[in-house]
Symmetry: C2
Subunit: 204 residues, 2 copies
């Protein structure tokens, strides 16, 4: 599908090569499974290209994505030891971000979320990573903890070659507007409907 | 989301623990991006649990999923060297399956596809892997190369604890019927619409 003629030839003054190397904003929304899972799948290709990956999990439960976290830390170690792939950083809001001096304020998720976004802004300005995964970031916008206009401006004006993948339900319309790729994951069937709980290896 | 009370308590004579450890058939359909990507994301959790993973790619282009293939081969190597995670096998129809003695018959994709399915049936009977990814397998069913009723019977009666993830557009209704989890990925926006071609690190 990456091959062949595209339906329109854009009138943006860019060559195909330039367009081919455009940094993307990717949004995975919807109520189905696979939003974050697809983001971490996408990051596999990025890692294999040697890109630096920064994951920022805007969720509180420590159990979430523990499998992916372990794998990405392993891949980061492979990179350090052999030079294969790219470097990996995995940060989670959990009970306070790893770079933060203050202990996690279990009570003030909004402040934690804002601190996460402030750090991501600094990193985007510094061009720290090539691929950013902002996992479950849509909720932070939905609840007004982080200003959507600030996010739109920051992402639109980010320098260099930096891809940003954002996951979560109900992505803000302004976010979808600036997205280059947006996919909605829709549940057709889920074991929860049959009264089945999550299981390890599948859900975490 | 893996936590908490499920909406119904099933009357299937199983304990929650038994139900929690049910092997699943997972289907990723739809026209959007992320079907295969989410499958390879899901397999990260499986690998981290030490599960044996078998990937079977029913596509012809060698470029497809090369990033994921590299990463999973790396994870397989990590497992061999350190015991971390699970073993990984990655097979692609490409120009003939790796286990097949005969050279790839570029002309007879149907025969190649049938051979792939026959091997998967043998492996399911032998309980070779814990997680099977049958990438782009829906097309093989759609085009009638492999019999849907054979697939339904085989998956329904597979022994032991084996999860099967199937990706591709237009999953057969009979496949959706036996699926435990089914997600549809719907495109909202894609750079192709703007005349942008695929780029490395993102598309492969």
């Amino acid at each position: 599908m990456a091959q062949g003629k595209t339906p329109v030839t854009p009138d943006d003054g860019m060559t195909t090569r330039q367009r081919r190397h455009s940094p993307l904003v990717v949004v995975h929304g919807g109520t189905g499974k696979g939003k974050s899972t697809a983001a971490f799948g996408l990051a596999l290709r990025a890692w294999n290209q040697g890109w630096g990956i920064g994951v920022f999990q805007f969720v509180k439960s420590a159990k979430w994505r523990i499998g992916e976290e372990e794998v990405y830390k392993t891949l980061g170690r492979v990179h350090e030891e052999s030079g294969q792939g790219g470097p990996v950083e995995w940060h989670k809001m959990g009970s306070g971000w790893s770079w933060s001096r203050k202990a996690g304020t279990e009570e003030d998720h909004a402040a934690d979320a804002r601190e996460g976004w402030a750090e991501i802004k600094r990193r985007l300005a510094d061009e720290t990573h090539t691929l950013y995964v902002l996992d479950e970031f849509t909720y932070v916008l939905k609840w007004g903890w982080v200003d959507i206009d600030d996010v739109v401006t920051t992402l639109t004006n980010r320098p260099g070659y930096q891809h940003v993948v954002i996951t979560g339900r109900d992505p803000h319309p302004k976010l979808l507007e600036i997205a280059d790729v947006a996919t909605e994951m829709t549940k057709i069937k889920h074991p929860f409907d049959r009264g089945q709980k999550g299981q390890k290896g599948i859900e975490w």
